[in-house]
């Protein structure tokens, strides 16, 4: 038997080629319900992993915790176990009237307002998803009938940069940068996309992201009761449908 990885607690025979990576353990459990033959294989800290099958092929879901550092560590360990395709499934907030609450968001690029990506590629390298995987997710979104868009996401390292910049010593600069991203066209914000895409490019992994938009523009409340929990399944269902397409394409080398 191969080694068991230090942080995620998984070993190679418990990891499929295809991995869904939500942020929270609760969402990992929810996603595992969509697998066939699903069972829990490891749970350490924020990393909860289930192993199962889709279309008869081994698949994994691992929660990564919040932010680039925790996410990158998980993806590096999972790729060491043989995984080469990662779909982040999560939530995001609107940064434009274009993105509305309940929309499925499949970002075509990410602003690098974060630190982990710098360990993988130079600053001028774009954080973009794998195109084949992106197209599968977009096609699945289009077929689902849910409202969706492919806007640029702002990956922020500090969650409260967006909600409360005035509480920080560098707030003038944060506000200026944030405003410039919105003017440049960014339509939503999240916390893991840029480092995931850059890690993918640096290590030759296929990575993409699909999220549910949890707010309308400029209406963030910080009240858990306002979170549209019922719509979370939209992103999950589209992710599963898109992954099925990719598995099919890989099988027939399309």
């Amino acid at each position: 038997m191969g080694k068991r990885l230090l942080h995620t607690g998984v070993s190679a025979n418990e990891v499929g080629r295809y991995v869904l990576i939500p942020g929270s353990v609760e969402r990992a459990a929810l996603i595992s319900e969509y697998f066939d033959n699903s069972h829990e294989v490891a749970h350490r800290g924020g990393y909860l992993t289930f192993y199962g099958t889709l279309e008869g092929v081994p698949v994994t879901v691992t929660s990564t915790g919040i932010g680039g550092p925790a996410m990158a560590l998980a993806v590096e360990e999972l790729s060491e176990c043989g995984a080469d395709t990662f779909i982040r499934v999560g939530s995001c907030a609107s940064s434009s009237p274009v993105s509305k609450i309940g929309d499925v968001i499949i970002p075509r690029g990410a602003v690098r307002m974060e630190g982990t990506g710098d360990y993988f590629l130079p600053r001028d390298f774009p954080a973009v998803p794998d195109y084949q995987l992106f197209r599968c997710l977009e096609q699945a979104a289009s077929q689902s009938g849910f409202p969706y868009n492919t806007g640029v996401t702002i990956t922020k390292d500090s969650f409260y940069t967006e909600a409360a910049p005035e509480t920080k010593p560098v707030h003038d600069e944060l506000s200026f940068r944030w405003d410039s991203y919105e003017r440049a066209g960014a339509t939503n914000t999240s916390m893991e996309c840029a480092p995931l895409f850059l890690l993918g490019s640096a290590k030759g992994l296929r990575c993409a992201s699909i999220m549910i938009c949890a707010t309308n523009y400029r209406t963030y409340s910080n009240d858990k009761q306002d979170y549209p929990a019922a719509w979370e399944r939209r992103a999950i269902e589209v992710a599963i449908a898109g992954l099925r397409m990719l598995i099919h394409a890989d099988r027939f080398k399309i």
Binding site: R108, G109, V111, P126, Y131, R183, A184, S201, G204
Partner: protein
């Protein structure tokens, strides 16, 4: 009479919402040949503009010159005259061995190794094309008898930076950067995509590109005799048919909404 743009010498009404952006006036002529009833509406400096019809929709072609600074002027003036969707048609130089001479490249992102884009958006903002324009170009490219690649390209503001072998003041540092881009999977170098994507995004225009690769990685030659195959032939064909497909999809979507 509305004002005439300082550099492109076009006026509002001279161009369609859909515009091809080749680099050279010569290539603009070749693309104009694919349009119905094309007429030259302006020719000033390196900027030559034709407007014609593609499936009954007004479409223009404007040569944007070489590099980001000239391209930036062209995009701004086209926008002011009503252009909203841009398709870049150009050549590129392979950076990795998987890309061969004559292959087609459809960038889904561009390394911002250039200066103009930074006068629009901060360096951490990604240079990415519009999803629908890219999809239309790719879908046409897949049906052609050539290998298609979708991936990141490097937008260089100094053409030769990709091929340096000497010991100039910046050369070691530049080689390190190009090595990093190649290890990150960047497919080729070219001179306009990052600038185009960032400016188009900030002006809320749609833009994407199709590039014909002109050489093998590590085998660039600046001797014209070594460029027997014109990588623009196929790129032009895919750009025109891709634009046709995009216009059809736009019409279908507008019909659904109406």
């Amino acid at each position: 009479m509305s004002k005439q743009m300082m550099h492109l010498a076009i006026q509002e009404g001279d161009v369609g919402e859909y515009v091809f952006l080749p680099a050279t006036p010569e290539c603009a002529v070749r693309i104009a040949d694919s349009l119905d009833d094309a007429v030259e509406v302006a020719c000033n400096r390196e900027f030559r503009t034709f407007t014609g019809l593609l499936d009954q929709t007004r479409v223009s072609v404007t040569s944007s010159g070489l590099g980001g600074p000239a391209l930036g002027i062209a995009v701004e003036e086209l926008h002011e005259c009503g252009a909203r969707t841009l398709v870049k048609v150009d050549t590129c130089e392979a950076l990795v061995p998987s890309v061969h001479t004559g292959d087609l490249i459809f960038p889904n992102g561009a390394v911002r190794m250039e200066g103009v884009g930074r006068q629009y958006a901060l360096e951490e903002y990604p240079a990415v094309p519009d999803t629908d324009v890219l999809a239309a170009l790719c879908d046409v490219g897949r049906g052609r008898d050539a290998t298609s690649h979708v991936g990141v390209v490097v937008t260089k503001a100094r053409f030769s930076s990709q091929f340096l072998t000497g010991s100039g003041p910046m050369e070691r540092q530049l080689r390190d950067r190009w090595d990093a881009y190649a290890q990150g999977g960047a497919l080729a170098g070219e001179m306009s995509c990052a600038t185009l994507f960032v400016i188009a995004g900030s002006l809320r225009m749609r833009a994407a590109a199709v590039l014909g690769n002109g050489c093998e990685a590590g085998y660039y030659s600046d001797d014209e005799a070594n460029w027997a195959l014109d990588p623009l032939n196929l790129a032009i064909d895919v750009a025109v048919e891709g634009m046709r497909l995009l216009i059809a999809r736009d019409k279908a979507e507008a019909g659904v909404r109406a």
